[in-house]
Subunit: 153 residues, 2 copies
DNA sequence: CTCCTGAGTAGCAAAACAGAACGCAGCTCT
DNA sequence: AGAGCTGCGTTCTGTTTTGCTACTCAGGAG
């Protein structure tokens, strides 16, 4: 199977991974959340090669995760900003961060993500939309949904 | 910068991505959550090449996300099971799935993740551990934590 | 014995990648 | 006016990483 064929696979974990599942894409998104908008700044803050950055940005724009917006600093230049769809990736980053803080941060969390105003830390929690309780993997049962075609995944 | 150097970077989003950020790793983990344990089953359900699978599994075992446990079906064979650390990846998968359902599932969610017993759907929500409220990216303020070294990321 | 099955290895071609050099348009300095 | 700088790419070259197909190897079944 070609990797790209997975995009057709009826699984909402698989499909995002065909877009986000590579070395750099989520790191670029992370920087975008940190306020980075310009080519040169992505390049320097991540150390990604210029050609790689060019096509990752193009892909993110094509996927409508970033938008390419003109601004002027003399002639026209572009900056890359998160769209609403891009913004919606935040829980994924926070879930990664929770895991990273727990298992890959021997010296404690490098960065705290603080709830503005209240001052508490923000985490990605699995919650049931009906009973509101927190769940773990063991409490969850996968079932075919409306988008299923024959085989559930 | 070599990609591997990122593992040293003091950011708990970056560090997990050095382990999980590639085409296959999270797909393997996803299958593990779905109950897949054996080489051949990973190979067939994902369509990943055998050699790739061999070294992705080795890496996951090395990272203690999967454990390699002997069982017998005649001679000794091994199966790969999620460790506690691997189990803790579930919120990341659910966050990916929430996003996938919203933006990449034109026919509706292929799979529903149901809270056992109560029957509601389970989602990854950003919640503040102090006030308990749900947050979005805009409500969150990054601040240097104990593991920071000079530059926050 | 010989075949079958599960779990890998080996070897090679194709794709993805890093890093440095180059292009180019407008600005700024002289 | 001309020289150099800046931001944003593109191109080129060589290295890594992948995907495929074929092979091995050990135990069990016929």
């Amino acid at each position: 199977m070609r990797f790209d064929d997975l995009a057709e696979y009826p699984c909402s974990i698989t499909r995002p991974l065909t877009v986000l599942g590579d070395r750099w894409t989520l790191l670029i998104v992370k920087q975008a959340f940190a306020g980075v908008r310009r080519f040169e700044d992505f390049h320097q803050s991540l150390g990604i090669s210029r050609s790689r950055l060019t096509d990752r940005l193009d892909r993110l724009v094509e996927q409508e995760i970033l938008s390419r917006e003109p601004y002027r600093d003399g002639r026209t230049r572009y900056e890359y900003r998160l769209t609403e769809k891009g913004h919606a990736l935040y829980p994924i980053l926070i879930a990664l961060r929770d895991w990273g803080d727990t298992y890959m941060a021997p010296d404690g969390p490098p960065v705290r993500y603080i709830h503005r105003g209240c001052g508490g830390e923000v985490h990605a929690r699995l919650t049931c939309e009906v009973c509101g309780e927190e769940a773990t993997a063991r409490d969850v049962l996968p079932e075919p949904g409306p988008g299923a075609v024959g085989h559930a995944a």
